[in-house]
Subunit: 199 residues, 2 copies
Amino acid sequence: MLIISDYPSKNFTEKQLLYLSERIKGGLGLVMIGGWGSFVGLDGNYHKTPLADCLPVLMQPSDDRMNISSPCLVSYDTHHQIIEGLPFETNAPVIGGFNAVQAKPRAKIVLNATVYKASKVNHPVEFKIGKSYPLLVLDHCGLGKVVAFTSDVAPHWVGGLVDWGDERISAHALGANPVEVGCDYVEFFTRMIQWVSEN
Amino acid sequence: MLIISDYPSKNFTEKQLLYLSERIKGGLGLVMIGGWGSFVGLDGNYHKTPLADCLPVLMQPSDDRMNISSPCLVSYDTHHQIIEGLPFETNAPVIGGFNAVQAKPRAKIVLNATVYKASKVNHPVEFKIGKSYPLLVLDHCGLGKVVAFTSDVAPHWVGGLVDWGDERISAHALGANPVEVGCDYVEFFTRMIQWVSEN
Protein backbone atom coordinates (compact mmCIF):
# COMPACT_ATOMS: atom_id res chain seq x y z
CA MET A 1 0.00 0.00 0.00
CA LEU A 2 1.12 3.53 -0.78
CA ILE A 3 0.30 6.42 1.57
CA ILE A 4 1.08 9.90 0.31
CA SER A 5 0.72 12.65 2.89
CA ASP A 6 2.03 16.20 2.48
CA TYR A 7 4.65 14.99 0.03
CA PRO A 8 4.83 17.44 -2.91
CA SER A 9 4.70 15.69 -6.29
CA LYS A 10 7.94 17.39 -7.35
CA ASN A 11 9.71 15.04 -4.89
CA PHE A 12 8.92 12.18 -7.31
CA THR A 13 10.39 11.87 -10.79
CA GLU A 14 7.96 11.56 -13.71
CA LYS A 15 9.15 7.98 -14.13
CA GLN A 16 8.39 7.14 -10.50
CA LEU A 17 4.89 8.61 -10.76
CA LEU A 18 4.18 6.56 -13.90
CA TYR A 19 5.51 3.43 -12.21
CA LEU A 20 3.31 4.05 -9.15
CA SER A 21 0.18 4.61 -11.24
CA GLU A 22 0.85 1.33 -13.07
CA ARG A 23 1.34 -0.49 -9.75
CA ILE A 24 -1.96 0.94 -8.44
CA LYS A 25 -3.81 -0.25 -11.55
CA GLY A 26 -2.22 -3.64 -10.92
CA GLY A 27 -3.57 -3.85 -7.36
CA LEU A 28 -1.50 -1.59 -5.08
CA GLY A 29 -3.68 0.37 -2.65
CA LEU A 30 -3.33 4.15 -2.59
CA VAL A 31 -4.23 6.60 0.18
CA MET A 32 -3.72 10.30 -0.27
CA ILE A 33 -4.00 12.34 2.94
CA GLY A 34 -4.71 16.07 2.56
CA GLY A 35 -2.42 18.94 3.41
CA TRP A 36 -0.66 21.97 2.00
CA GLY A 37 1.60 19.53 0.07
CA SER A 38 -1.16 17.14 -1.05
CA PHE A 39 -3.68 17.08 -3.93
CA VAL A 40 -3.12 20.58 -5.42
CA GLY A 41 -2.40 22.49 -2.19
CA LEU A 42 0.42 24.99 -2.07
CA ASP A 43 2.90 22.62 -3.69
CA GLY A 44 1.16 19.24 -3.93
CA ASN A 45 0.40 19.71 -7.63
CA TYR A 46 -0.84 16.15 -8.13
CA HIS A 47 -3.38 17.42 -10.69
CA LYS A 48 -0.56 17.48 -13.24
CA THR A 49 0.66 13.92 -12.54
CA PRO A 50 -0.33 10.39 -13.64
CA LEU A 51 -1.74 9.86 -10.10
CA ALA A 52 -4.62 12.22 -11.01
CA ASP A 53 -6.04 9.31 -13.05
CA CYS A 54 -5.83 6.98 -10.04
CA LEU A 55 -7.22 9.22 -7.30
CA PRO A 56 -10.98 9.04 -6.62
CA VAL A 57 -11.33 12.82 -6.88
CA LEU A 58 -11.12 15.56 -9.47
CA MET A 59 -8.71 18.33 -8.52
CA GLN A 60 -8.91 22.06 -9.14
CA PRO A 61 -6.44 23.73 -11.52
CA SER A 62 -4.88 25.77 -8.67
CA ASP A 63 -4.49 26.10 -4.87
CA ASP A 64 -7.31 24.06 -3.27
CA ARG A 65 -6.50 24.75 0.40
CA MET A 66 -9.41 25.54 2.71
CA ASN A 67 -8.20 26.81 6.10
CA ILE A 68 -11.30 27.08 8.28
CA SER A 69 -11.43 29.24 11.42
CA SER A 70 -15.09 28.52 12.19
CA PRO A 71 -16.61 25.13 13.20
CA CYS A 72 -16.04 22.62 10.38
CA LEU A 73 -17.89 19.40 11.15
CA VAL A 74 -17.11 15.93 9.90
CA SER A 75 -20.43 14.55 8.74
CA TYR A 76 -21.53 11.12 7.69
CA ASP A 77 -22.67 10.67 4.09
CA THR A 78 -22.90 6.97 3.16
CA HIS A 79 -22.63 3.87 5.27
CA HIS A 80 -19.28 2.08 5.05
CA GLN A 81 -17.30 -0.39 7.17
CA ILE A 82 -14.60 2.25 7.79
CA ILE A 83 -16.98 4.38 9.87
CA GLU A 84 -19.38 1.72 11.23
CA GLY A 85 -20.14 2.27 14.91
CA LEU A 86 -18.03 5.41 15.22
CA PRO A 87 -19.97 8.30 16.84
CA PHE A 88 -20.09 10.65 13.83
CA GLU A 89 -23.82 11.12 14.44
CA THR A 90 -23.83 11.66 18.21
CA ASN A 91 -20.55 13.51 18.77
CA ALA A 92 -19.27 14.94 15.49
CA PRO A 93 -15.61 16.00 15.52
CA VAL A 94 -14.30 19.19 13.92
CA ILE A 95 -11.40 19.59 11.51
CA GLY A 96 -9.29 22.67 10.76
CA GLY A 97 -9.11 22.46 7.00
CA PHE A 98 -8.96 20.33 3.86
CA ASN A 99 -8.24 20.33 0.14
CA ALA A 100 -11.37 21.25 -1.84
CA VAL A 101 -11.86 18.48 -4.40
CA GLN A 102 -14.79 16.91 -6.23
CA ALA A 103 -15.58 13.19 -6.10
CA LYS A 104 -15.28 11.39 -9.43
CA PRO A 105 -18.73 10.28 -10.73
CA ARG A 106 -18.46 6.60 -9.74
CA ALA A 107 -16.53 7.15 -6.48
CA LYS A 108 -18.20 6.77 -3.10
CA ILE A 109 -18.31 9.74 -0.70
CA VAL A 110 -18.32 8.36 2.85
CA LEU A 111 -17.71 11.56 4.83
CA ASN A 112 -18.14 15.24 4.14
CA ALA A 113 -16.69 18.33 5.79
CA THR A 114 -19.41 20.90 6.45
CA VAL A 115 -18.48 24.48 7.25
CA TYR A 116 -20.56 26.40 9.81
CA LYS A 117 -20.35 30.03 10.84
CA ALA A 118 -20.95 30.82 14.50
CA SER A 119 -22.30 34.25 15.45
CA LYS A 120 -23.74 35.75 18.58
CA VAL A 121 -25.23 38.84 16.96
CA ASN A 122 -28.53 37.60 18.34
CA HIS A 123 -27.98 35.73 21.56
CA PRO A 124 -27.64 32.67 21.90
CA VAL A 125 -24.98 31.61 19.41
CA GLU A 126 -26.35 30.84 15.97
CA PHE A 127 -24.63 28.17 13.86
CA LYS A 128 -25.30 28.89 10.18
CA ILE A 129 -24.67 25.98 7.83
CA GLY A 130 -22.38 26.69 4.88
CA LYS A 131 -20.93 24.56 2.09
CA SER A 132 -20.07 20.85 2.29
CA TYR A 133 -17.01 19.28 0.68
CA PRO A 134 -15.95 15.63 0.17
CA LEU A 135 -13.73 14.48 3.02
CA LEU A 136 -13.43 10.71 2.61
CA VAL A 137 -13.83 9.35 -0.91
CA LEU A 138 -13.28 5.73 -2.00
CA ASP A 139 -12.94 4.09 -5.38
CA HIS A 140 -11.02 1.51 -7.35
CA CYS A 141 -8.44 2.23 -10.00
CA GLY A 142 -7.97 -0.91 -12.05
CA LEU A 143 -7.32 -3.60 -9.41
CA GLY A 144 -6.20 -1.14 -6.69
CA LYS A 145 -8.30 0.43 -3.98
CA VAL A 146 -7.89 4.19 -3.83
CA VAL A 147 -8.75 6.58 -0.99
CA ALA A 148 -8.76 10.35 -0.72
CA PHE A 149 -8.90 11.77 2.80
CA THR A 150 -8.80 15.51 2.16
CA SER A 151 -8.03 16.71 5.70
CA ASP A 152 -4.86 15.73 7.54
CA VAL A 153 -3.90 13.10 10.14
CA ALA A 154 -1.81 15.72 11.95
CA PRO A 155 -2.15 19.36 13.07
CA HIS A 156 -3.22 21.78 12.04
CA TRP A 157 -5.89 20.52 9.61
CA VAL A 158 -6.72 17.43 11.68
CA GLY A 159 -8.31 19.81 14.22
CA GLY A 160 -10.28 18.23 17.06
CA LEU A 161 -10.48 14.91 15.20
CA VAL A 162 -7.09 13.99 16.71
CA ASP A 163 -8.68 14.05 20.19
CA TRP A 164 -11.88 12.23 19.22
CA GLY A 165 -12.96 9.50 21.64
CA ASP A 166 -13.43 9.12 25.40
CA GLU A 167 -10.23 7.11 25.94
CA ARG A 168 -6.72 8.47 25.38
CA ILE A 169 -4.11 6.41 23.54
CA SER A 170 -0.38 6.99 23.97
CA ALA A 171 2.28 5.79 21.57
CA HIS A 172 5.97 6.39 21.09
CA ALA A 173 7.59 5.46 17.79
CA LEU A 174 11.35 4.95 17.75
CA GLY A 175 13.09 8.26 17.11
CA ALA A 176 9.86 10.28 17.24
CA ASN A 177 8.19 12.36 19.95
CA PRO A 178 5.62 10.56 22.09
CA VAL A 179 1.99 11.15 21.07
CA GLU A 180 -1.29 11.04 22.96
CA VAL A 181 -4.50 10.99 20.91
CA GLY A 182 -8.17 10.00 21.08
CA CYS A 183 -9.27 6.36 20.65
CA ASP A 184 -11.86 7.08 17.94
CA TYR A 185 -9.23 8.92 15.91
CA VAL A 186 -7.03 5.80 16.06
CA GLU A 187 -9.92 3.49 15.22
CA PHE A 188 -10.96 5.57 12.23
CA PHE A 189 -7.53 5.68 10.58
CA THR A 190 -6.82 2.04 11.44
CA ARG A 191 -10.01 1.00 9.64
CA MET A 192 -9.19 3.15 6.63
CA ILE A 193 -5.80 1.49 6.28
CA GLN A 194 -7.32 -1.97 6.82
CA TRP A 195 -9.88 -1.41 4.09
CA VAL A 196 -7.24 -0.35 1.55
CA SER A 197 -5.06 -3.34 2.52
CA GLU A 198 -7.80 -5.96 2.03
CA ASN A 199 -8.05 -7.68 -1.34
CA MET B 1 8.18 41.41 29.02
CA LEU B 2 8.27 37.70 29.71
CA ILE B 3 6.35 35.24 27.52
CA ILE B 4 6.20 31.66 28.75
CA SER B 5 4.71 29.19 26.29
CA ASP B 6 4.95 25.40 26.59
CA TYR B 7 8.07 25.71 28.70
CA PRO B 8 7.86 23.29 31.64
CA SER B 9 8.66 24.93 34.99
CA LYS B 10 11.36 22.32 35.66
CA ASN B 11 13.44 24.07 32.98
CA PHE B 12 13.85 26.97 35.41
CA THR B 13 15.76 26.78 38.69
CA GLU B 14 13.91 27.74 41.86
CA LYS B 15 16.16 30.79 42.09
CA GLN B 16 15.26 31.90 38.56
CA LEU B 17 11.54 31.54 39.27
CA LEU B 18 11.84 33.65 42.42
CA TYR B 19 13.84 36.26 40.53
CA LEU B 20 11.21 36.39 37.77
CA SER B 21 8.33 36.75 40.24
CA GLU B 22 10.15 39.67 41.90
CA ARG B 23 10.77 41.30 38.53
CA ILE B 24 7.07 40.95 37.64
CA LYS B 25 6.04 42.58 40.92
CA GLY B 26 8.49 45.34 40.03
CA GLY B 27 6.84 46.01 36.66
CA LEU B 28 7.86 43.28 34.19
CA GLY B 29 4.90 42.13 32.09
CA LEU B 30 4.09 38.41 32.05
CA VAL B 31 2.16 36.39 29.45
CA MET B 32 1.59 32.70 29.91
CA ILE B 33 0.34 30.92 26.80
CA GLY B 34 -1.41 27.56 27.34
CA GLY B 35 -0.21 24.14 26.27
CA TRP B 36 0.73 20.71 27.52
CA GLY B 37 3.82 22.30 29.12
CA SER B 38 2.07 25.41 30.52
CA PHE B 39 0.03 26.16 33.68
CA VAL B 40 -0.28 22.63 35.15
CA GLY B 41 -0.59 20.65 31.90
CA LEU B 42 1.32 17.42 31.49
CA ASP B 43 4.58 18.91 32.76
CA GLY B 44 3.98 22.66 33.14
CA ASN B 45 3.57 22.37 36.91
CA TYR B 46 3.52 26.12 37.50
CA HIS B 47 1.05 25.63 40.36
CA LYS B 48 4.01 24.67 42.55
CA THR B 49 6.13 27.71 41.65
CA PRO B 50 6.39 31.36 42.77
CA LEU B 51 4.80 32.35 39.43
CA ALA B 52 1.48 30.95 40.74
CA ASP B 53 1.24 34.12 42.88
CA CYS B 54 1.78 36.33 39.82
CA LEU B 55 -0.52 34.66 37.30
CA PRO B 56 -4.12 35.97 37.08
CA VAL B 57 -5.56 32.46 37.44
CA LEU B 58 -5.87 29.73 40.04
CA MET B 59 -4.54 26.39 38.86
CA GLN B 60 -5.76 22.89 39.57
CA PRO B 61 -3.64 20.52 41.66
CA SER B 62 -3.12 18.14 38.69
CA ASP B 63 -3.31 17.80 34.88
CA ASP B 64 -5.57 20.60 33.58
CA ARG B 65 -5.44 19.76 29.86
CA MET B 66 -8.70 19.93 27.93
CA ASN B 67 -8.36 18.43 24.44
CA ILE B 68 -11.64 19.15 22.67
CA SER B 69 -12.78 17.18 19.62
CA SER B 70 -16.13 18.98 19.26
CA PRO B 71 -16.68 22.68 18.38
CA CYS B 72 -15.03 24.83 21.06
CA LEU B 73 -15.91 28.49 20.46
CA VAL B 74 -13.98 31.53 21.54
CA SER B 75 -16.57 33.85 23.07
CA TYR B 76 -16.45 37.43 24.18
CA ASP B 77 -16.95 38.12 27.89
CA THR B 78 -15.96 41.70 28.77
CA HIS B 79 -15.03 44.62 26.58
CA HIS B 80 -11.30 45.32 26.36
CA GLN B 81 -8.94 47.11 23.96
CA ILE B 82 -7.26 43.81 23.07
CA ILE B 83 -10.39 42.52 21.35
CA GLU B 84 -12.02 45.79 20.23
CA GLY B 85 -13.36 45.56 16.68
CA LEU B 86 -12.34 41.94 16.18
CA PRO B 87 -15.24 39.80 14.86
CA PHE B 88 -15.69 37.53 17.90
CA GLU B 89 -19.44 38.22 17.76
CA THR B 90 -20.07 37.78 14.04
CA ASN B 91 -17.58 35.04 13.10
CA ALA B 92 -16.40 33.23 16.23
CA PRO B 93 -13.26 31.13 15.79
CA VAL B 94 -12.77 27.66 17.28
CA ILE B 95 -9.86 26.36 19.32
CA GLY B 96 -8.70 22.78 19.87
CA GLY B 97 -8.02 22.85 23.58
CA PHE B 98 -6.86 24.78 26.64
CA ASN B 99 -5.73 24.49 30.25
CA ALA B 100 -8.73 24.52 32.61
CA VAL B 101 -8.05 27.26 35.16
CA GLN B 102 -10.13 29.61 37.29
CA ALA B 103 -9.78 33.40 37.19
CA LYS B 104 -8.56 34.97 40.44
CA PRO B 105 -11.31 37.04 42.12
CA ARG B 106 -10.09 40.49 41.04
CA ALA B 107 -8.82 39.45 37.57
CA LYS B 108 -10.70 40.36 34.40
CA ILE B 109 -11.98 37.62 32.09
CA VAL B 110 -12.01 38.99 28.54
CA LEU B 111 -12.62 35.80 26.56
CA ASN B 112 -14.05 32.39 27.38
CA ALA B 113 -13.81 29.04 25.63
CA THR B 114 -17.22 27.42 25.34
CA VAL B 115 -17.52 23.75 24.50
CA TYR B 116 -20.37 22.59 22.24
CA LYS B 117 -21.39 19.09 21.27
CA ALA B 118 -22.64 18.58 17.72
CA SER B 119 -25.04 15.74 17.00
CA LYS B 120 -27.25 14.78 14.09
CA VAL B 121 -29.38 12.24 15.93
CA ASN B 122 -32.30 14.43 14.96
CA HIS B 123 -31.63 16.13 11.65
CA PRO B 124 -30.43 18.94 11.24
CA VAL B 125 -27.27 19.11 13.35
CA GLU B 126 -27.94 20.21 16.91
CA PHE B 127 -25.25 22.20 18.75
CA LYS B 128 -25.66 21.66 22.50
CA ILE B 129 -23.90 24.18 24.70
CA GLY B 130 -21.60 22.78 27.38
CA LYS B 131 -19.23 24.32 29.91
CA SER B 132 -17.33 27.60 29.54
CA TYR B 133 -13.78 28.15 30.75
CA PRO B 134 -11.63 31.30 31.07
CA LEU B 135 -9.52 31.78 27.92
CA LEU B 136 -8.06 35.28 28.23
CA VAL B 137 -7.60 36.63 31.76
CA LEU B 138 -5.88 39.92 32.70
CA ASP B 139 -4.64 41.30 35.98
CA HIS B 140 -1.82 43.16 37.66
CA CYS B 141 0.73 41.64 39.99
CA GLY B 142 2.36 44.46 41.90
CA LEU B 143 3.47 46.85 39.16
CA GLY B 144 3.47 44.22 36.39
CA LYS B 145 0.67 43.43 33.95
CA VAL B 146 -0.09 39.71 33.83
CA VAL B 147 -1.96 37.75 31.16
CA ALA B 148 -3.13 34.16 30.97
CA PHE B 149 -4.12 32.90 27.51
CA THR B 150 -5.06 29.31 28.21
CA SER B 151 -5.12 28.00 24.62
CA ASP B 152 -2.04 28.00 22.40
CA VAL B 153 -0.66 30.28 19.66
CA ALA B 154 0.32 27.18 17.66
CA PRO B 155 -1.22 23.83 16.66
CA HIS B 156 -2.85 21.81 17.85
CA TRP B 157 -4.70 23.79 20.57
CA VAL B 158 -4.82 27.03 18.56
CA GLY B 159 -7.33 25.27 16.27
CA GLY B 160 -9.06 27.42 13.65
CA LEU B 161 -8.04 30.63 15.47
CA VAL B 162 -4.74 30.50 13.53
CA ASP B 163 -6.68 30.98 10.28
CA TRP B 164 -9.03 33.67 11.59
CA GLY B 165 -9.54 36.64 9.26
CA ASP B 166 -10.30 37.21 5.59
CA GLU B 167 -6.77 38.17 4.63
CA ARG B 168 -3.77 35.83 4.78
CA ILE B 169 -0.47 36.97 6.26
CA SER B 170 2.84 35.29 5.40
CA ALA B 171 5.99 35.59 7.44
CA HIS B 172 9.37 33.92 7.49
CA ALA B 173 11.58 34.25 10.55
CA LEU B 174 15.28 33.60 10.13
CA GLY B 175 16.02 29.91 10.62
CA ALA B 176 12.34 28.95 10.93
CA ASN B 177 9.81 27.53 8.48
CA PRO B 178 7.65 30.05 6.61
CA VAL B 179 4.17 30.55 8.07
CA GLU B 180 0.88 31.69 6.58
CA VAL B 181 -1.90 32.66 9.01
CA GLY B 182 -5.09 34.72 9.25
CA CYS B 183 -4.99 38.52 9.74
CA ASP B 184 -7.33 38.56 12.76
CA TYR B 185 -5.14 35.98 14.51
CA VAL B 186 -2.14 38.28 14.01
CA GLU B 187 -4.08 41.35 15.15
CA PHE B 188 -5.34 39.61 18.30
CA PHE B 189 -1.92 38.46 19.52
CA THR B 190 -0.27 41.73 18.52
CA ARG B 191 -2.76 43.65 20.66
CA MET B 192 -2.26 41.30 23.60
CA ILE B 193 1.50 41.86 23.51
CA GLN B 194 1.02 45.61 23.08
CA TRP B 195 -1.24 45.80 26.12
CA VAL B 196 1.25 43.97 28.33
CA SER B 197 4.10 46.16 27.06
CA GLU B 198 2.35 49.46 27.82
CA ASN B 199 3.03 51.13 31.13
